[in-house]
Amino acid sequence: MKYFGYTLGDPDTPMDPPDPEMYAKMDALVEEATKAGILLATGGMGPLSEAVRVKYADGEFTVKDGPFAEAKELIGGWALLECRDTAEAVEWTKRFLGIVGFGETTVRPVYGP
């Protein structure tokens, strides 16, 4: 089963400056998960100030530039995993958050195509 994990947060909360030790640990985790065959794809999100929101309603397109008013947004990273079950996806997510030090990641099953 595929799982999509993404981290939500308040974009206005300042993030700690990049910590080389954390990066090294994260690289090791990515390597481990890739070698275990469970990490299919992962990436980081660009800033919301560079985001665009495209809306289509009543036959009209509206394109709005970020940042947006909402408090909770998809920030930081996301990962597409292929795990045997939800419990396994949760364990990998715990290891990810353990390195970041804090945060909240939503893990959702991916259906299809």
Binding site: A36, G37, A87, P113
Partner: protein, 430 residues
């Protein structure tokens, strides 16, 4: 957190750590069977302690430490003393305290090498193919015997027996826990790839029973292949096999209809093919081709699969290219089954008569005598040649030969359709 969730979390952690734990212990003990016994002791301890104390922050190190202590205890107690335990206990005791970070680091340092050794050992040619598959799922996949039994739809005792015997065979044959040397390596690697492919195929087209697929086995095989590809990066055929598995797995969602009946490749809804897996397959195929100017059988099969995967509409399929690849595959690995597939491709590329001519050369092959796909393909080509009466007989024969209930149903339907074409029921005169 509910109790069930806590239990599932513990089991997931154990499954994730299992292979590396066994691999590390096997290096220390030189004995895969003993390593698994020690690992099992540690797992039992974890299942007792973790529910109350919580999962430790470094579960792998915890399990290793417990397994190691168990070995030393057994040695010290001297009860039921086996020579093997004694040696290991002595060696481990000399290595210092189990809880030191140095030990953990040393244990983990060569983990990739240990994993590769574990794969080569559990796929050792001294074992029968089913034994290799069960042992590999247990030791490398980290599945319990109950999980393996469920995936294969057999009683747990059957799998447990198979694994016990496999471990005994390895011990009796004095199989060493090592990566084979250069001379032995190609044959041993073939044995490994064969196991991974067997597991996949067991899941992809269940050979018996009512289920057409057991997707869990496909998933395990793909995962094993990916693990192997990161351990044996320079082996073209490893990447070839991974490519093949990724392409085949990309079609899993399209291979059955809503009722669970099989849908043939050319009838599949290609929008349901998993593009992500196709992309991964293409990358693996490129690696394989880059590593070897003379593609091996898995790489050639992957190249054939890619011909289908890259095509959005079946009528755009490059059949001449596929027929040519089958020709190369037949040269690299002569087999009546490959010839049969070549006949299908040739039939598509150069007309059904050309396919049938190739097929006729296979008529005397004893290996294909009871193989349901031979009459099935004949039936298909005869249909296209406008010979539905003969086609119906071939489909009926194929239906009798297949062991898969879903496939039998499909073949019986085709037999009935062809028979109807051959002798349509009398209708009103027109």
């Amino acid at each position: 957190m509910t109790e069930a969730r806590a239990r599932a979390a513990i089991e997931a952690v154990i499954r994730m750590e299992s292979a590396r734990l066994i691999a590390g212990l096997a290096r220390l003990t030189g004995d895969v069977g003993l390593a698994e016994d020690l690992a099992q002791d540690a797992v039992v301890a974890a299942l007792e302690q973790w529910p109350a104390e919580g999962v430790p922050s470094n579960p792998g190190a915890w399990l290793t430490t417990v397994a190691r202590r168990r070995a030393i205890d057994t040695f010290r107690r001297g009860a039921d003393l086996q020579q093997k335990y004694a040696e290991i206990g002595r060696a481990l005791e000399a290595a210092g305290d189990a809880a030191t970070p140095d030990f953990d680091r040393a244990f983990r340092a060569d983990i990739d090498d240990d994993m590769l050794r574990l794969i080569f050992t559990s796929c050792h040619p001294a074992l029968s193919l089913p034994a290799r598959a069960a042992l590999t799922l247990r030791l490398v996949g980290g599945l319990t015997t109950a999980e393996i039994a469920r995936a294969y739809l057999v009683p747990e005792a059957t799998i447990a027996q198979r694994i016990v015997r496999a471990k005994r065979t390895l011990a009796q044959a004095r199989v060493r826990f090592e990566v084979p040397d250069e001379q032995e390596r190609p044959a041993r690697l073939t044995s490994v790839l064969e196991v991974v492919y067997l597991i996949f195929n067991e899941g992809y087209s269940a050979t018996a029973g009512a289920d057409w697929m057991r997707p869990q086995l496909c998933g395990e095989a793909v995962r094993l292949g990916r693990v192997l590809a990161h351990l044996a990066t320079g082996e073209p055929e490893v990447h070839g096999l991974v490519a093949l598995l990724e392409f085949q797995a990309s079609r899993l969602g399209a291979r059955t209809d809503e009722a669970g009946s099989p849908v043939l490749l050319l009838d599949q809804d290609r929008a349901r093919w998993d593009r992500l897996l196709i992309g991964r397959g293409r990358a693996a195929l490129e690696r394989a081709l880059h590593l070897s100017p003379e593609p091996g059988p898995y790489t050639l099969q992957a190249a054939i699969a890619y011909c289908h995967a890259r095509t959005f509409r079946p009528e755009e399929t490059d059949w001449p290219a596929i027929a040519e690849l089958y020709g190369r595959l037949a040269a690299a690995q002569p087999s009546p089954v490959v010839e049969l597939n070549r006949a299908v491709a040739v039939g598509m590329a150069h007309g059904p008569q050309a396919g049938l001519d190739l097929l006729d050369k296979l008529a005397g092959e004893s290996a294909l005598r009871d193989y349901h796909l031979l009459p099935s393909v004949r039936g298909d080509l005869l249909c296209k040649l406008g010979r539905p009466g003969e086609a119906a007989a071939e489909f009926a024969r194929a239906a009798r030969l297949t062991g898969n209930a879903q496939e039998r149903e499909l073949l019986e339907r085709r037999a009935a359709e062809a028979a109807l074409q051959a002798a349509p029921p009398a209708g009103p005169a027109s």
